[in-house]
């Protein structure tokens, strides 16, 4: 489904060059729940941005269903995103000017063959547990509710891939659990999920787990020793490790 080959992303600020993602290889199969761990600044979000076509890689190739998205025009990538990719941000990412229900429906504007409808939006809101807030404005929601709405919105066009960038980063433990259970349920129902987090306690949710350190994808440690694990030079994932 997704094949990432030798992807690098370098940001330039004046004379300063920052290698945010460095020679990353990754393969994601349909119905997988990929968890990518890493400390802040390790390049996780940049990698997700590239998977969603929001950032163009400096080098390397990202293929989604065999299509190299690096070669697609801006509009073609937008089309692909609208139809196939749901994105949940670390922050709520809700539009403050429209209601919860309208927020969920917004992506349908950009997808020609969207299955999105009012009834489906309400169904999704019910699914994520905030249907009673459909007519509320985002500013009146709690962080957990906002996150749930963002998930419902990401699913409105029926995407095959859900990308989540630290979706539980600002939530309390109970809400984090509820959200992660929701992701698990979605995955069980067939949605492929790629999620990054810096919380090692969530490791058991992933069907595949990876780690990022200083822009490189490294081998997954055993969950029991995750908190104490330090990547070494031999842990960098090579193409053969992910094929």
């Amino acid at each position: 489904m997704i094949k990432v080959s030798g992807v690098t992303k370098t940001f330039r600020t004046g004379s300063l060059e920052i290698q945010a993602v460095d020679d990353v290889h990754l393969a994601v199969q349909p119905r997988e729940f990929i968890l990518i761990f890493g400390r802040s600044g390790s390049g996780k979000s940049t990698l997700l941005g590239m998977l969603a076509g929001l950032i163009r890689p400096t080098n390397g190739e990202i293929r989604i269903n065999g299509v190299d998205i690096g070669n697609l025009s801006d509009d073609k990538i937008s089309e692909l995103r609208a139809k196939e990719i749901g994105f949940v941000f670390q922050f709520s990412g809700l539009l403050p000017t429209v209601t919860v229900l309208e927020n969920v429906l917004v992506p349908t504007l950009f997808c020609k063959n969207s299955p999105g409808s009012r009834s489906r939006a309400l169904e999704l809101l019910k699914k994520v547990g905030v249907s009673e807030r459909a007519d509320a404005y985002p500013r009146t929601l709690s962080s957990g509710e906002m996150k749930r709405v963002a998930i419902a919105r990401a699913l409105i066009n029926g995407p095959s891939l859900l990308i989540a960038d630290e979706p539980t980063g600002d939530l309390d433990v109970d809400t984090e659990y509820e959200i992660m259970e929701l992701f698990r349920q979605l995955n069980c129902e067939g949605t492929t999920i790629v999620m990054v987090t810096h919380n090692p306690d969530l490791i058991h949710y992933g069907t595949q787990t990876y780690c990022m350190d200083r822009g490189k994808m490294v081998k997954r440690p055993e969950s029991s020793s995750f908190n104490k694990w330090e990547p070494g030079p031999d842990t960098h994932l090579k193409p053969k490790d992910v094929s």
Binding site: M1, P30, R31, G49, A52, L54, I55, N65, D74, D75, S78, E79, R81, A82, K83, E84, F87, F89, F91, G93, L95, P96, T97, V98, E102, L105, V106, P107, T108, L109, F110, C111, K112, N113, S114, P115, G116, S117, R118, S119, R120, A121, E123, L124, K127, R153, L155, N157, G158, P159, S160, L161, L186, E189, G190, T191, T192
Partner: protein, 427 residues
């Protein structure tokens, strides 16, 4: 591709009714920042009001001049040779437009019109007959001049009508000057003749204000009534007229035509008196008005343009994250571009309408109070509905054009913005 979310209602690939639209989005965005958007609307309203007011003032003032030109009356008056004696040194009448012949008892036969009609450069002519000056206390405290006119050829009296006649002047109907008492359709009595007031003239600031005009045939009938004509005055016979008012073909040299008229008659029979083109100085006075008002409009538009552009840029910057989010959801560049432009157009349209409406109300109030006339020093003629609609349309189009042009660059920038940078820009 993938398995999807697996919800029962999922119908991927099937087009269903979208239940949100871009207008919802634009209106919601505008409602979200009422203060800022009110200020933007005010800017647009100010521009629209300025453009509209300028055009309105020009149209009103020029309308007055045009009306004045139609009321300038005749280019020449052809009268019995003795008539010049009365005209000479006659004060304001001599410098005013020729609307009526001066009251006199010297007459000619209307067959002079046969000769006049053959003179090259003459486009119109209408006879007038001074009947008498009567004391009619019911009509006016001053003596009232009574004139006979030919309503079918008249081009000097009827342009001064306050309201056009409902039908051509019928026998027994009269037109009265501004100072004559009596409402339209009311009856007046002159000697033993009853007349109906069919029309009332605007003020002319001349003796016309105290004059009653009736059809020539009625004039002959009235003149035949005992006590109407002074016993010492010559008798009026049918066919007698005091003067023929002549209009020349536009573009013809008045002096040449005047000379041709003179050559067509024996010197001892008629005199030909030209007008002094008295409204020309008035039109020269307001000649500079359009230039002045248009210049002010241009200056305001030029000055407001960067302000509008700055506001549009601020709005786009402020909504950077929102734009990034929309792109992350799949919005294409043209959608983002259109959204930014549409919001600006929306504000411009509202501002434009507000500006035009407020200006119209203001003009109506000022006109009712007579302030426009005194400020412009010309009689301000309110433009017609069609003219007003056209000017409102022009003002709206200009404002909308300014709004869209000013937001072009911010819209372009927004559409090209990297969504990831846009989303994280405020973090």
């Amino acid at each position: 591709m993938g398995a999807g979310t697996g919800y029962p209602s999922e119908t991927k690939g099937c087009v269903m009714k979208k239940e949100i639209n871009y207008l919802t989005f634009i209106v919601a965005g505008i409602r979200n920042k009422p203060g800022r958007n009110l200020a933007t609307v005010f800017c647009f309203a100010f521009i629209a009001a300025n453009i509209f007011s300028g055009q309105y003032l020009i149209a009103g003032a020029m309308g007055s001049v045009n009306q004045g030109i139609t009321r300038m009356g005749a280019d020449y008056i052809v009268a019995p040779v003795q008539y010049s004696v009365f005209l000479r040194g006659s004060g304001p009448e001599n410098t005013f437009a020729i609307v009526t012949a001066f009251p006199s008892v010297w007459r000619v036969n209307n067959n002079i019109m046969d000769t006049l009609g053959k003179v090259q450069g003459v486009s119109g002519m209408s006879p007038q007959l001074y009947v008498s000056t009567l004391n009619l206390p019911a009509l006016s405290s001053s003596p009232v001049d009574v004139f006979g006119i030919d309503p079918t050829t008249d081009f000097t009296i009827q342009p001064w009508l306050r309201q056009p006649l409902k039908h051509p002047l019928d026998p027994g109907e009269i037109i009265v000057g501004h100072q004559i008492n009596g409402e339209i359709s009311s009856k007046i009595q002159v000697s033993n003749h009853a007349y109906t007031i069919a029309g009332r003239l605007d003020p002319t600031q001349s003796a016309v204000d105290n004059t009653v005009f009736l059809r020539l045939d009625d004039a002959y009938t009235l003149a035949a009534t005992e006590g109407i004509i002074h016993p010492s005055a010559p008798h009026i016979s049918p066919g007698d007229i005091n003067a023929v008012l002549v209009r020349i073909v536009p573009g013809e040299n008045p002096d040449t035509v005047g000379a041709s008229i003179r050559r067509s008659f024996p010197r001892t029979q008629i005199t030909v008196i030209g007008r002094h083109f008295t409204l020309d100085p008035v039109s020269q006075d307001i000649e500079g008005l359009p230039f002045l008002l248009n210049s002010i409009s241009v200056i305001i538009v030029v000055a407001a343009f960067p302000l509008i552009a700055l506001i549009a840029a601020m709005v786009a910057h402020e909504r950077q994250r929102e734009i990034g989010l929309l792109k992350s959801m799949g919005a294409k560049r043209n959608v983002i571009f259109s959204l930014v432009i549409a919001e600006s157009l929306f504000l411009a349209a509202i501002g434009g309408i507000v500006g035009v409406v407020v200006s119209l109300i203001t003009f109506n109030i000022l006109n009712t109070q007579g302030i426009l006339n005194s400020v412009l020093q010309v009689s301000f003629r309110m433009p017609t509905m069609a003219e007003t609609g056209l000017m409102a349309g022009v003002a709206l189009i200009v404002v909308i054009a300014i709004g869209s042009i000013a937001s072009l660059y911010p819209a372009y920038r927004s559409s090209r913005m990297n969504p990831y940078d846009a989303i994280r820009g405020e973090e």
